[in-house]
Subunit: 141 residues, 4 copies
């Protein structure tokens, strides 16, 4: 058994690209974020906008993001992004994203996110709470 | 007496530009939006984040935006944006933005915004309410 | 016979939305821009990145854009955008975009674009050139 | 002697923020990118748009970016970003960015960039070339 992987394809838009004709780096973090939500939708069967209420959390805020740019993604390239949770810890987890173009890895990224609730001692703050075992189970394929 | 005009200068960033080497159109609407907030801060002496609570409104949502692109704005150009309310109506108003580069008009835009409160008959909706006369007065210079 | 209409559906992403929980206005102009390219691809059978070389033009730069925001688009809403050229002039044309959510019109926009070549008298400038009749013909359905 | 540090201040805009009312993660990578260009302008006395021609390079493309999100940045927060090159290698270097709000570190990021020229064996590719010693010297304060 392995990790559930969420795939989607998209075409690189004119507005994604910079004067070098390639995707501007910040855009990849938009692509990662949205794929993280869609991976959760696929695994849990809950729409992104209902994830919080379904699980008694505030959300899955990002605490760390990174990307390695291996090959440029150009205007009109068709990209495939594959996303999976590669590690669950007590109250956080790591999502890995791989973007391929023409079958070659172009960008590899990772996000560390927290399974977060309101902090009862300080309602304007968030704190990580334990990720339920049945949630983790749903990310196995 | 004329309209209060809010000016700011900024430099066109690499990430603002598209493969043609010029500012991608959607960025201008970001520039307009932020200048509208800053014009209100200048006129009313209230920070953008406190505008709602200071005036008993939910905000100043946009109902119409437009831009005319006269000359391209290129990477590293120094832009001057001048913003003013050119018309107050009962519960809405029109903000005009003019972006100049090297003293020449490059982009002219306008936004129609509403002075909006919660709709008491339907709390998930907003409705325009009359703009106080003393608010309007503050936009005269 | 009517205008060729290009439709696509997309889901409103977390990163498209502002603190009011609705799509930030500049994002709609990104949606319009990409649909304009895709409408041309559908009509002419030419990929966006090859449009220039296929027709001896530099591109279809935007000279005017506007949007009317009728109903908010919220995180996770499924939007349908329908785009068509509603008028061809000698060397420019107007694209209309209508974004609907749950069958109701949420945003209506328009773009004026130019069929543009290098200006032979000044190679750093663009100028509109006549739109070929067979191009116009392809936008009829 | 230490590293030259480039500081700038900016206010968090409405359009930078997501439905949680805090800066959406991809925006931080825009902030980093622009500060990297400005750090080079300060160190070398060359405008970003002229960096390539001044040094016989194509640019300083990004090969790796990361950010650690320590405290949220909210609408209207005044942020200070401090940027410095913390390591020069033969043909690449690492830029560190620290964003503070009210004197507390909110986000820490780093970018690895390449001092890149056209690859003579393959003109559509870039390759790193040695960073001149006098360039490195200018990043000492």
């Amino acid at each position: 058994m392995g990790n559930l992987v969420y795939h989607r394809q998209f075409t690189v838009e004119w507005g994604h690209c910079d004067p070098a004709g390639i995707v501007f780096n910040s855009r990849f973090f938009e692509f990662f974020d949205w794929s993280a939500w869609l991976l959760f939708e696929k695994a849990l069967g809950v729409r992104p906008s209902e994830l919080g209420s379904a699980y008694g959390i505030v959300g899955i805020p990002l605490v760390d993001a990174q990307a390695r740019f291996i090959k440029p993604a150009k205007f009109n390239d068709v990209a495939d992004i594959a996303s999976e949770v590669i590690e669950f810890r007590r109250s956080s987890f790591e999502v890995r994203h791989r973007i391929s173009i023409d079958g070659e890895l172009a960008v590899e990224g990772s996000e560390t996110r927290v399974w977060a609730a309101q902090d009862p001692g300080n309602p304007v703050k968030l704190k990580g709470i334990p990720i339920p075992a049945d949630v983790i189970e749903r990310f196995r394929a």
